[in-house]
Symmetry: C2
Subunit: 168 residues, 2 copies
DNA sequence: CCGCCCGGCGTTACAGTATAGCAGCACGCA
DNA sequence: TGCGTGCTGCTATACTGTAACGCCGGGCGG
């Protein structure tokens, strides 16, 4: 019955060292691409870094604006192609209900992700709950349905935004 | 462990009488709106009927085109407002991963829907699996997350498209 | 009956999201 | 050197969704 705790903390407290959090993510990406023979070009690396700028989901056009280095503004295909590459290699996930992208904390491992999305602070936390996987797989099988892609996006309030303060 | 079968068949066979299927859906909608004091106007009813035209998810701009009765073409807000009304009253669901809408077979009851979406024939089947609900609620609670909206969209192949024919 | 309010609908205009298709360029390799 | 391939850039366009304003008709108090 899946009593295993998540292997990393859901949602980040004040003490979170985001600087190193991003550096680690980029290092994992470099490593994974090297092992796969995929090219993490400067542009792709920069986009990944921007996505990791926060733990919120980032919109493509915000990335586009952020890429604008003062001179000519970047064009949509630039960022969409980088995102497609990152997505193919599991370095980012697309959140369909937000039209936005979030960095994957555990790229490379075949994992079915479920996302907790806080509507208050915007933070997105990725889960890997075997119990949910199992329930979904069972029900799909019971309907004779052959699964290929599982989208689970859970909206609500994260612990920090939900808890103490006054109601409402 | 949720061994209850779904209360309606997932996916439709050749013998499906879609004419009456649509009529029943419209009758349920009329009834539900009457009970709620909501106004199922001719336009809204027509949009609902178009959504129910198939068991696939329908795009807003396809509805728009279908609404065009030869004279002046309908404008986006027309159909989006109708869809918003239908969605508020649970008569249709939005499939976020497709930017499209599908009719709800059981409107009015508080149900958390999971969707099985066939990538081959496009048919969308709505489930109400308590086991999935439960697994999701447990994991969210374990993270201290207060759920408000649960999006579960399962892509793959329906029984008819997956089964007999030659491989591939 | 009159005037008012309000919800539904129509229109214009625009914002936001995403892709097609072609050109230039750098690199590795024959 | 010449070529192919993959990355990036560009223009243009398609697709999705919303803001804001105004008209109209029906209900309701006066
Ligand atoms: Zn961090
Ligand atoms: Zn939060
Ligand atoms: Zn039917
Ligand atoms: Zn199918």
């Amino acid at each position: 019955m899946d009593t295993l705790p998540d292997d990393r903390p859901a949602f980040h407290d004040g003490g979170h060292e985001h600087q190193s959090c991003v550096e680690d993510a980029l290092a994992r990406a470099e490593d994974l691409c090297r092992r796969r023979g995929a090219r993490l070009t400067p542009l792709r690396r920069r986009v990944l870094e921007l996505v990791w700028g926060s733990h919120r989901a980032v919109k493509a056009y915000d990335l586009l604006a952020a890429l604008d280095d003062g001179a000519g503004a970047a064009k949509p295909p630039t960022v969409y192609r980088a995102l497609e590459f990152l997505k193919e290699h599991g370095l980012v996930h697309r959140i369909d209900s937000l039209n936005a992208f979030v960095g994957c904390p555990q790229p490379g491992e075949g994992h079915s992700a479920q996302f907790l999305i806080c509507g208050e602070c915007g933070e997105v936390s990725e889960m890997n709950a075997a119990s949910i996987d199992r329930a979904v797989a069972e029900r799909a099988a019971a309907s004779g349905f052959a699964l290929s892609r599982i989208i689970i996006e859970l909206h609500g309030r994260c612990p920090r935004c939900a808890t103490p303060s006054r109601g409402i």
